[in-house]
Symmetry: C2
Subunit: 451 residues, 2 copies
Amino acid sequence: MKRITLSEQELPRTWYNIAPDLPEPLKPPLNPATGEPIGPEQLAAIFPMPLLEQEMSQEREIAIPEEILDVYAMWRPTPLIRAERLEKHLGTPAKIFYKHEGVSPPGSHKPNTAVAQAYYNKISGIKRLATETGAGQWGSALAFGCCLFGLDLKVYMVRVSYEQKPYRRSLIQTWGGEIVPSPSPDTPAGRQVLKDVPDSPGSLGIAISEAVQDAVHRDDTNYSLGSVLNHVLLHQTVIGLETQRQFKEFGLEPDVVIGCVGGGSNFAGLALPYVREKIGGKQLRMIAVEPEACPTITRGHYHYDFGDMAQTTPLLAMHTLGHSFVPPGIHACGLRYHGMAQLVSHLVRLGLVEPRACQQLECFEAAVTFARTEGIVPAPETSHAIQAVFAEAERCKREGKEETIVFNFSGHGFFDMSAYDDYFAKKLSDYALPEGDLEKAWDEIRDLPKP
Amino acid sequence: MKRITLSEQELPRTWYNIAPDLPEPLKPPLNPATGEPIGPEQLAAIFPMPLLEQEMSQEREIAIPEEILDVYAMWRPTPLIRAERLEKHLGTPAKIFYKHEGVSPPGSHKPNTAVAQAYYNKISGIKRLATETGAGQWGSALAFGCCLFGLDLKVYMVRVSYEQKPYRRSLIQTWGGEIVPSPSPDTPAGRQVLKDVPDSPGSLGIAISEAVQDAVHRDDTNYSLGSVLNHVLLHQTVIGLETQRQFKEFGLEPDVVIGCVGGGSNFAGLALPYVREKIGGKQLRMIAVEPEACPTITRGHYHYDFGDMAQTTPLLAMHTLGHSFVPPGIHACGLRYHGMAQLVSHLVRLGLVEPRACQQLECFEAAVTFARTEGIVPAPETSHAIQAVFAEAERCKREGKEETIVFNFSGHGFFDMSAYDDYFAKKLSDYALPEGDLEKAWDEIRDLPKP
C-alpha cells in the first residue's frame, strides 16, 4: 500500500487551535503607536470579526462551517503517499511519506485558508478583498476562493515573480481576479518604493503594505493574508489532522515532520497537531526549512516588528530580518518574507521546532530527483522541505535507523517551470547574504519593543 | 457525496479489449506496397512484440502486469466527481460527472498508455523511444514513463505548440527527455517539410513521420504512439472500468458519455466499456467531440489512409482528412490530427458513437465557466468535451430530462495558460475550413484502397 486517500466522510469537521495547549502563551500583537496589546476592534477595519475571533481564540477545536467543508470536498482529504521509489533511490532505511497538497485546484495548500477567508468575509458583508502574493500560490488560491463565493479580488504580486511566473497571473485572471505587479503605482506604499528604487524586484513586505493600504482605503474591501497569522495557520491544520488519521491506516507514526517555511503556514498546518502530541510527551522532531537567501528563523532576531515594509501592520513578536529587508530574487518567492508566523517563532523559541536553512541549488537538485522518482514536479518552495528530507534520510542511512519521515508537499511546480529551465541552463546560483545587510535591516527595529 | 475515490486495491487488474465484442470486425491495416493485410512481423522493427500482440488480440480481458499497476497506483484510481456547482450554474436537471484524469503526474490521461508502452519496450530490450507530441500531453507522459523505467526518449513536438507551450517542453526535460520542434532538421521527413514550407507550424502527421523515421533508423530505438492504435486505446480502458465501479457506488448509471477526440484515445478509454454495455442492449449515447478546425469524423472520409504525412505507416481504415492536411494552429493541438483511431471510426460508422464538432471560442467560453464553477482549469482539448456537456445539459433543461452525463476530464490546462491569455485578450478566432482545402487533401488519397 503506497497511498491512503480518505473518503469525503472522513474530512475533519474541526480545525485544531494550539493556543490552549501551548506551554507558554503567545506574546500579544502591539499597537505601534501606544505599545499596548491590540484588540480585535482595532483590526476590524480590514478583517471580518469571525476571523479576528479565531485569531485570538482559546478554544481547542473550532468547527468548520458546512459551506467550507463543501468546498474542501472538491479535493480533500488529500492523499498521504509513501515515496517508495525515492526511498529506494536514496538507499535509506527511512520510510518517507508526503502529504500531497498539490492536488487542490490552485495546486497548493493555500486554498485551505483562502476558501475559509473568502467565506467569512462574504458572510460579513464584504464585497472585495485585497491581498499580496509572492510566487502566486496564495494569489491564485484566493482568486479561486473569491470566485466560488462571489467576491472581487485585487492581487499585488511581487514583481520578480510576476515576471518569472506569468502563468500564475493568467490563472488568477481565469478565476476573475485583478492583478498588478508590486511595487505598483496604485498605492502610496508602492509609489514610494518606485520613487526610491525604480527597478525594485519587490518583496512580500512591500506587497503586504500595498494590499493593506488598498483595504484601509475602501469600505467594501478587506485585507486577506495568506500566512503568518494565527487564523491562517488554524485553517491549515486540516492537513495535519488528516495526516494523523492516514498514518493510523498505515499502522505507523512519524518520527520526523518536515515543512518549508516562508510565513509558516504549510509547515504549521502539518506540524501543529503533531506539536500537540510532542507537548503531550511523544518523541518526535519537527523541522522548519527556509532558504539561506531569507534566513528568518536561522539568522533573524526574535523581536517585535512590523509585518510589512511600510509599517502599516501591528507589531508582531516573531523571528524577523527587519521589515525593510528585501531578499534576493530566488525562485522560491513564497519563502521571501522577512518575518515568520508568531506561532512558528514561538515554537522555535520553545525548542519544539528545529529551524534549518538550505541553498537554492541543493533544493533544485532534490526537486529534480523527486520528480524523476516520484513523478511529481515540486514548487521551488516545496523543494526546501524535500532537501531536508534527503538530509534526514541520509542520516537514517548513516545511523542505520528505520525512522518514519513525513513532509508537506505544499505545491506542484507546474507554474514554476521557468525556474527549472534556469536550473538546467545553470543560470541559478546560491546566495550568501552579507552580514552587513542583515545588520542594516536589524538596526531599524532594535528600538521597537522587546518581546 | 460529490466525489468517489476508489482505493488502490480497487484498481482494475485487466484492460478491456473490445475486439471480440464488436458486431463487425475491424478492417485490417494494409501494407501500402502490396495492398495486403500487414502482419505483426512487419511492424516489429518499431514496436515490441507484446504491444503488437495486444494490437491484434481477440482476448476480451488482458492482464495488467504488476509493474504497471505499481506505477498506476501513484495516482489511480482517479476520482469521479459530480459537478454540482456547474449543474447549478447551468440550471439543468441533468446530473453531470467528470472522470478527473488531470490528477496524474503529467496532468492528463496519457500516462495510462505511456507507462505501459515504456514497460513493454523495456522488457523487450529496447533502450530508447522516439515519439511525436502535439500540445505536449503525450510527450510529457512518455517522458514520465521512460524516466520511471530507465529508457531514453526523443520527442518531436509540433512547432506551433513548442512555441505556445514552452513549459510542457520544460516538463519533458525535467523528466530527462530530449525534445525538438517538428518539422526538425533531424530527419528526412522534417528536412523535406522545412525545404517546402520553411515556416510550417507543423502537424501531428509530420511529427509522426519524423519519430517513425528516427525509430526505423536506429536499432536500439522503438517508436511509440500516444493515440490511434488499438493497444493505446486498450490501455486507456482503465478509465472507463474505474468509472463503471464508481457509478455503482453513486448508485447511478450514465445516459450520455462524452469525450474529446484527436486520435481518439481519451474518449475511447472512457467509452469502450460503455460501448460494450450498449452493444449488450443498454440505452446510452456516446458523443465524440472534435474541433471544427480539424473535423476528421464530422467532415472527413472513411477510407484507407496513411497515419503520417510522409507515408511511412501502414494504411489504416479510418476517418481521415487526408495525410497531407495541416490544420490551422488552434490551441487544442492535441486534436490537430488528420486521422482518427480505427476503432473510433468503426464505431462511428456502426452508429454506436455520435460525432460532433465545435468551435474554438465556444470551447474556451465553456472552459472558463468550468474553471469558475468547478475550480479546475481544463486543457484546451478537454474544453471540447465540456462544450458538448453544456449542449447536452441545455437539451436536458429544454426537455425537462434528468439524465446523467459523464465526460472525461482528459487533462488540466496549467501548461496552456497562454491560450487563456489569448482568449481573454480576444486574440482567438473560430475557423471555417474552406471546402477546397479538404478536397485537395482528399484528392491525394482517393486512389488508395477502399475499406
